[in-house]
């Protein structure tokens, strides 16, 4: 149930990149299906999706490798149709970086400037400048093979940034790094982007990368954008079952809608339990639904006043009309039996089964020592707020 994305209004001047109703087909397969979006100047925009969803095709079309079957790509208000990649004010950072192995770091960074016919002295000055900015002063003489993964990353970024592009496109550049370095580079990239103020369009299949770094994230599935929103809204208010399942971890409970008024409803699960939850638009009483509930929204031993629910909208106008939270009793409660404790530091969870059911329910296990008494086999009560779960039509997330 992808949300319908209406054609974008004519690009405002502040939009560095505007994509309108873009379509790309490969024989019978539609890789990019009617995608529209805009990225404002200086923003970090991510496209998040599973492999094969068309995000790389989309990014390559923006860079100029491959032309769309229909639709418009405009960079700073200028239509890019028929403009070769070497003439576009957009630069691409490749998945495997594509540093030129036969050139030194300085020659790599100078490559684009030389193509513009800039004078030698000016090139040297700018190369030194940008290497300093990415934290690699004095590395100009080294060969790419002598650098570590993170350093290569920064050279690749410097090589593009030195050209001062309108848009910097990044094709999963952190994919090849090990976990620790990836975490570090995430923060570095975000800081660097904020510092230089260049518009970044970043594609990834790693939701954490997208959520941490971006101002806005588009979730892409099967060639379409399912939702374009701030990271917080994607997580809190997914617009489709796919987004709910793809962004963050989630438990899925299938059942039938007993009651639906506005966006609130009552779900009877296949095991017979009844829960209050939010309901996506267009679902009526009696519909088969999947209820999504995040492990971290499920509280252990809800003592009556720990649940937090939506209150009035804050009206701060900060982009997300997020309602302010208020405390209240947990609307949904269920008895579960602990099967296993999955210890993972801050991300520790309990694997539980509800009474009389084989369904697996993950419950976040906060490491604040309040729950150290829990052992596998224990019966515990868990509960969550009536706005924490969200229902979509059954099977629509696949």
């Amino acid at each position: 149930m992808p949300t319908d994305i209406s054609p974008a209004t004519p690009p405002a001047v502040s939009a560095d990149l505007s994509v309108t109703r873009l379509v790309k087909r490969f024989e019978k397969f539609t890789a990019v299906n009617d995608v529209s979006f805009e990225v404002e100047r200086g923003k970090f925009f991510s496209i998040l999706g599973p492999s094969g969803c068309g995000k790389t095709t989309l990014l390559r079309m923006i860079a100029g490798f491959g032309s769309p079957d229909s639709g418009v790509i405009a960079i700073r208000g200028r239509d890019m149709a028929g403009i070769a990649p070497n003439r576009r004010p957009a630069n691409l950072i490749f998945q495997h970086l594509a540093l030129f192995p036969m050139m030194s770091v300085a020659e790599n960074v100078a490559f684009g400037l030389k193509r513009r016919g800039m004078a030698g002295g000016e090139i040297t000055r700018r190369v030194q400048d940008v290497l300093e900015r990415v934290g690699l002063p004095g590395y100009g003489g080294k060969m790419p093979a002598q650098l570590s993964g993170g350093q290569k990353q920064r050279v690749a970024i410097a090589r593009c940034l030195v050209l001062e592009p309108a848009v910097l496109l990044l094709d999963e550049p952190l994919g090849a790094l090990d976990l620790k370095l990836r975490e570090q580079m995430k923060v570095e990239l975000k800081t660097l982007q904020a510092e230089v103020g260049t518009t970044f369009v970043y594609i990834t299949h790693d939701q954490s990368e997208a959520l941490v770094m971006s101002d806005h994230v588009a979730v892409m599935n099967a060639g379409r954008f399912e939702q374009v929103d701030t990271p917080r809204n994607l997580y809190r208010r997914p617009a489709s079952a796919f987004v709910a399942g793809f962004v963050g971890e989630t438990n899925v409970w299938s059942g039938t809608l007993e009651e639906a008024t506005g966006d609130a409803g009552l779900v009877r699960t296949d095991e017979g339990a009844v829960f209050r939850a939010r309901v996506a638009a267009g679902l009526a009483r009696g519909a088969r639904v999947d209820m999504f509930i995040r492990p971290e929204a499920v509280l252990i031993d809800p003592d009556g006043a720990t649940c937090v629910t939506d209150g009035a909208t804050d009206g701060a106008g900060d982009g997300g009309d997020a309602p302010l939270p208020v405390r209240g009793p947990c609307a949904n409660r269920v008895q579960v039996q602990v099967q296993a404790i999955l210890f993972d530091g801050a991300a520790s969870r309990l694997l539980t089964h509800p009474e009389g059911s084989r369904r697996e329910v993950m419950v976040a296990l906060p490491q604040n020592r309040l729950y150290d008494h829990i052992r596998p086999g224990d019966r515990i009560t868990v509960g969550w707020d009536d706005r924490a779960g969200i229902c979509f039509a059954a099977g629509s997330g696949r």
Partner: protein, 297 residues
């Protein structure tokens, strides 16, 4: 009994290994020693002696002196060297686009097919292929027939027996030895490097010059060495397509051995040619900054 079997089996170390090594090396050593090193030593000795038909006159540099004294010899020598370098350059210029097209432009299946089509003519011997060219180009040949039929020329034009035809024939003969190493180095070139260069503002010529050619250097040099040596030592193509005008140095060697029956002079010419090819290859390696050990891989 099982112990006997065990002991006769080659072991990983000790005399067993040495025996296996010796066994495998023997044919190579025999080949090199008997067929290449020994005859060359004999030829080298011969080149420093005079024609024995006038009796043994001891050691002498007369054969080498003869080469410098007679302008036709060293002029042919210089001409052969110059044309061989030219043929190598032309072969490279023709082969690079071909190899690039086969590896980077067409789809994988088409690429295999094209490579087979390139190899196919080389299953036929060089002699037959050169005769094929002669049938096309000679005065009463296919090309002349068409030119006359179309009224472009009134009388048949002799297209054989000139330098241009000979060079074209030599390029054709040695092209494959340049295309194959180029294809193999181009296959190891990551496409994203080409795309990155384009993305950074480079046009097709700049990409060729700054990315493709530097990456292909080992293949270019190894192909160049093979083509240069084959061309320098080629006898058939210059002789058939260039005729009497070809003035290829191999013909001088042939004349000394077969026509003048002066094996000592012929041997001296042979060693001069060997020295020339070694010098030019050394120079080529120095100029391109390549190492022989890397190039022959």
């Amino acid at each position: 009994m099982s112990a006997a079997v065990m002991s006769s089996a080659p072991t990983r170390s000790g005399p067993g290994l040495r025996l296996t090594l010796a066994l495998f090396l023997t044919p190579v050593v025999l080949w090199l020693g008997l067929l290449i090193v020994l005859p060359h030593i004999d030829l080298l000795i011969m080149s420093f002696r005079m024609d024995p038909s006038f009796g043994d006159q001891g050691w002498s540099l007369e054969n080498y002196h003869q080469f410098f004294a007679e302008p036709i010899y060293w002029l042919t020598f210089v001409r052969t060297a110059g044309y061989s370098v030219l043929v190598t350059l032309l072969t490279f210029l023709v082969s690079l686009p071909v190899a690039f097209y086969v590896t980077k432009v067409v789809a994988r299946n088409t690429s295999r097919f094209l490579l087979t089509m390139l190899l196919l003519p080389f299953w036929v011997s060089e002699l037959v292929r050169v005769y094929g060219w002669m049938i096309l180009l000679r005065e009463s040949g296919v090309l002349n027939h068409w030119l006359m039929a179309l009224g472009i020329t009134g009388a048949p034009v002799e297209m054989l027996y000139n330098d241009a035809t000979m060079i074209m024939g030599l390029v054709y003969t040695s092209m494959l030895f340049m295309v194959v190493p180029l294809v193999s180095v181009l296959e190891s070139l990551d496409d994203s490097l080409i795309e990155a260069a384009c993305d950074l503002g480079a046009g097709p010529w700049t990409i060729m010059r700054t990315i493709v050619v530097p990456h292909c250097m080992p293949g270019i040099v190894s192909g160049g060495i093979v083509v240069f040596m084959l061309t320098l030592g080629n006898y058939l193509t210059p002789n058939l397509m260039g005729g009497k005008n070809s003035l290829w140095f191999t013909e001088q060697i042939y004349n000394q051995f077969i026509a003048s029956f002066n094996w000592n002079q012929g041997a001296a010419f042979g060693f001069l040619l060997l020295a020339l090819s070694s010098c030019i290859i050394w120079l080529g390696l120095r100029l391109t900054g390549q190492k022989l050990s890397r190039v022959v891989q």
